[in-house]
Amino acid sequence: MPDNSAIVYDAQESASAANNANGANSAHLEHPSYLRHHFNSAEQQADTSNFAMWLFLLTEVMFFGGLFTAYLIYRNWYYPAFVAGSHQLNVIWGTLNTVVLIASSFTMAMGVWCAETRRRRGLILCLSLTFILGLCFLGIKTIEYHEKWEKHHVPGVHYSLQSFVDPDSDAAARAAGDKPLPLDMARHTEIYFSLYFAMTGMHALHMIIGIGILGFMIYRARAGAYTSGHVTFVENFGLYWHFVDIVWIYLFALLYLISRHQ
């Protein structure tokens, strides 16, 4: 009655107990300390958590997707307002931030490579660089947000249409050669900035969470947690970090680069 091909779950435990005398190494291979009990092998566990992270990224795609949908609709409805709003963003800061994030994706990918090839110090270096670049990004974003606040371009009770009905009073609008907008179109710039803050704000929130986890990983990496064969955490975090980079690639193109050619 019992199926001959049935595998006893505890095989790994009993094997490692039996092999303890022969060599902790082979026992460790069969049942590494990080293997959770409901998995049959480290490979299954790594595979599973990788797939799980991808599914989580799908939810993030749909989450940001709603914002992108709103953006596409309103950009086509209120194009002149979006152009004027976009001209209020500093393309140099935006480009710099894009370069910073792309570089941080590179350092993160290199970090994964270091983990996979068991380079502990390389991993710590790469994670630290990613961390610093992430902070740079947030720093630049803070400068930009502050500037928006100063110019009363934050949606809400203090929002000001000054720069749009009278572009000559505004340095950025003057530099872009903006014409004055009719009043109702000028009001629609508030939607542009709502989406700007919602989208970049949501993105920045994801960056903050990522930087927090990076801090944790640097601390653990120093103890050698990711350079002894168990790279899953670093790999999966890398996926998250790259995703956040991809969101920014689109945000940059859509928010900063609307018609700079006046």
């Binding site: 949908t69 409805w77 792309i102 570089a103 994706s105 490579w113 018609s259």
Partner: protein, 105 residues
């Protein structure tokens, strides 16, 4: 030692720094390109080019930084499923807006 590296590699080979550097350069190039293109007067092609370059950059990140090129079919299918659903959301919502008093605001 070979067993341990095999474990570390799973099914795919480890992507090396050379590939990453190449992708980094390509992404930086794309960034410069898209900024430059935004200063040209190309009419309706401006947003199309900007999105095309952004999509090309995103594709490179997905394929190489995120290892999808070396991943299982399941991973690839998952990525496609996500993109597909996002496109459904955008396109079918836009279909309503396009067919409804487009541009008369």
């Amino acid at each position: 030692m070979s067993e341990q590296t095999k474990h570390a590699e799973h099914e795919h080979h480890i992507v090396g720094p050379g590939v990453y550097v190449a992708i980094l350069l390509a992404l930086l190039l794309g960034t410069g390109l898209t900024v430059w293109a935004s200063f040209l007067e190309l009419g309706p092609w401006n947003p199309i080019i900007a999105l095309a370059i952004a999509t090309a950059k995103a594709t490179l990140v997905v394929l190489f930084f995120m290892h999808v090129k070396y991943s299982t079919k399941l991973t690839k299918l998952t990525v496609v499923a996500g993109i597909f659903t996002f496109l459904i959301l955008v396109s079918m919502t836009l279909a309503d807006y396009i067919s409804r008093a487009w541009g008369s605001w």
